[in-house]
């Protein structure tokens, strides 16, 4: 019937030149408000710093940029950003690798849920920031304590989302597979797991954002390098510029990490239809 044979009236010949021009125009139209948003951020920052506050305690964007260039040149910025980023990446990946299977188990087996939920439902309410002191006592001020904290902050949110994802699988998806002859192993790997992927990815994205909070707090308390250290030393030596460079770096890092994650999802898991 017509409903099945209906095709979209797409003309892909003849309109090539026109469509590329219009797609550039489309890109400008879509990108401009975004650009405007970013621009206004810096513009208002500038106005407030120079004309409203007018104090050395609140440097304007260009002063921060100049300081950032200095810190980049003497390697301080790269060292600190690298230290924080490395901890986040290791902890985030480890936390996800631990969280996903636990979440799948909790979501799949009611008995496992009953046994494991007291763990997750009590421990997840301890903010990872509150675990800093004990992490330092247990693992010292080196890398292990930071990575422990990032894992801690990642693992519960990933578990929770993964388990919720398993719970949200419609019964008909499972039933359809059963009626097509699937055994329980096939149902797990070919139905339950892919159906849960969007939830897992959402959990990981939230965990990534939490990791930034946690790492700064942990580095404020005890570390040799990292953005948190930069912030702390900025306070100690009244280096307002350094503090602002660290803050802006966090902004850029967080934004980039999130975009990269979304890009990766779209690129490799686009078929899973993740909410942006």
């Amino acid at each position: 019937m017509s409903e099945a044979t209906r095709t979209l009236p797409v003309s892909d010949t003849g309109g090539a030149a026109g469509s590329s021009a219009s797609s550039i125009w489309q890109a400008i139209k879509n990108g401009f408000p975004y650009f405007l948003g970013f621009f206004s951020l810096f513009f208002i920052w500038h106005v407030v710093a120079v004309y409203v506050v007018a104090s050395v305690l609140f440097p304007p964007p260009y002063a921060v940029l100049l300081r950032a260039i200095e810190l980049l040149q003497d390697g301080v910025l790269v060292e600190n950003v690298g230290a924080s980023l490395q901890r986040i990446i290791i902890g985030f990946i480890a936390g996800s690798l631990i969280g996903i299977p636990i979440g799948l188990i909790i979501g799949s087996f009611p008995l496992a849920r009953k046994i494991l939920e007291p763990w997750t439902e009590s421990l997840r309410f301890i903010p990872s920031v509150a675990m800093i002191t004990i992490a330092v006592i247990w693992f010292g001020i080196g890398e292990p304590s930071k990575i422990f904290l990032i894992i801690y902050t990642t693992v519960f949110i990933v578990i929770l989302n993964t388990a919720a994802g398993v719970g949200a699988i419609s019964a008909n998806k499972i039933r359809a597979a059963q009626a097509l002859g699937a055994n329980s192993r096939q149902i797990f790997f070919l139905v339950a797991l892919p159906a849960t992927v969007p939830y897992i990815l959402t959990g990981m994205r939230i965990a990534m954002a939490n990791s930034f909070t946690t790492i700064v707090a942990a580095e404020l308390v005890a570390a040799n390098a990292g953005l948190g250290v930069m912030l702390w030393q900025g306070r100690m030596y009244m280096q307002i510029g350094d503090i602002f460079v660290a803050l802006v770096s966090l902004c850029i890092l967080g934004f980039t990490a999130d975009r990269l994650f979304r890009f990766g999802v779209a690129r490799f898991a686009g078929r899973y239809d993740v909410t942006p």
Binding site: M1, S2, E3, A4, T5, T7, S170, N172, K173, R175, A176, A177, Q178, A179, L180, G181, A182, Q186, L190, V191, P194, A195, V197, R271, Y272, D273
Partner: protein, 261 residues
Amino acid sequence: MALISLADVGKSFRSREGRSWSAVADFNLTLEDGEFYCLLGPSGCGKSTILSLLAGFTLPSAGRLELSGKPIKGASRDRGVVFQGDDSLYPWLTAVENVEFGLRLRGVDRRERRDRAMQYLELVGLRGQEGKHPSELSGGMKQRVQIARALANEPRILLMDEPFGALDAQTRGAMQVELRRIWERMKVTVVFITHDIDEAIVLGTRVGVMTAGPGGTLKKNLPIDIPGERTRGDPRYIALYEEIHALVREEVLRANARRAA
């Protein structure tokens, strides 16, 4: 021997408060090979429960339920299922990947299963749509994918649970014509659940009318002896419609009276 036989089949559930209530009771039916059986009844009569039992998703609490003389103990690929909603399709797979899913489970190699899936997509009129994901397909197209997916597995019986219930009237009409054509070509046995009298007469070789639930049972079976394409102006159609309408109406009134009491 009958293909399917249900003897005094009953199914009861336990409510949240722990009370037991019966969805269907004393259900007796035999189905022969090649039938297009439409099970009709008011909502809540337990017709979907019957389908669920036939599919093997649930097991009866009473009576015997047999396929070729062997009790049905669970879902199996000899009974394909088409669900009402589209939530049984796999959104991460394309149309053709959905259709070949059953073949993939059996380890049929990639080329062969793709060829066969394409044949079934063609059968349901979805040629050219194979690379689309379910989210890119209309409601009617998604139901076609479901039908192709079930048929590609070559089941002995196709169980359909109000498959066109969520479609608009035009699409539904078109789908009915297509399904009838597919059934004539494939010679598969169909059990079709519906609450739409017209749909039952247009499609079926036999219509079973259920009593109102809870504890619904089979009230009457009516053969539909209209060969060829069925038109709504046909006096045989009209007579059947009147008869079935009266049967269903009786049940609806009884259900309302029971609810009021």
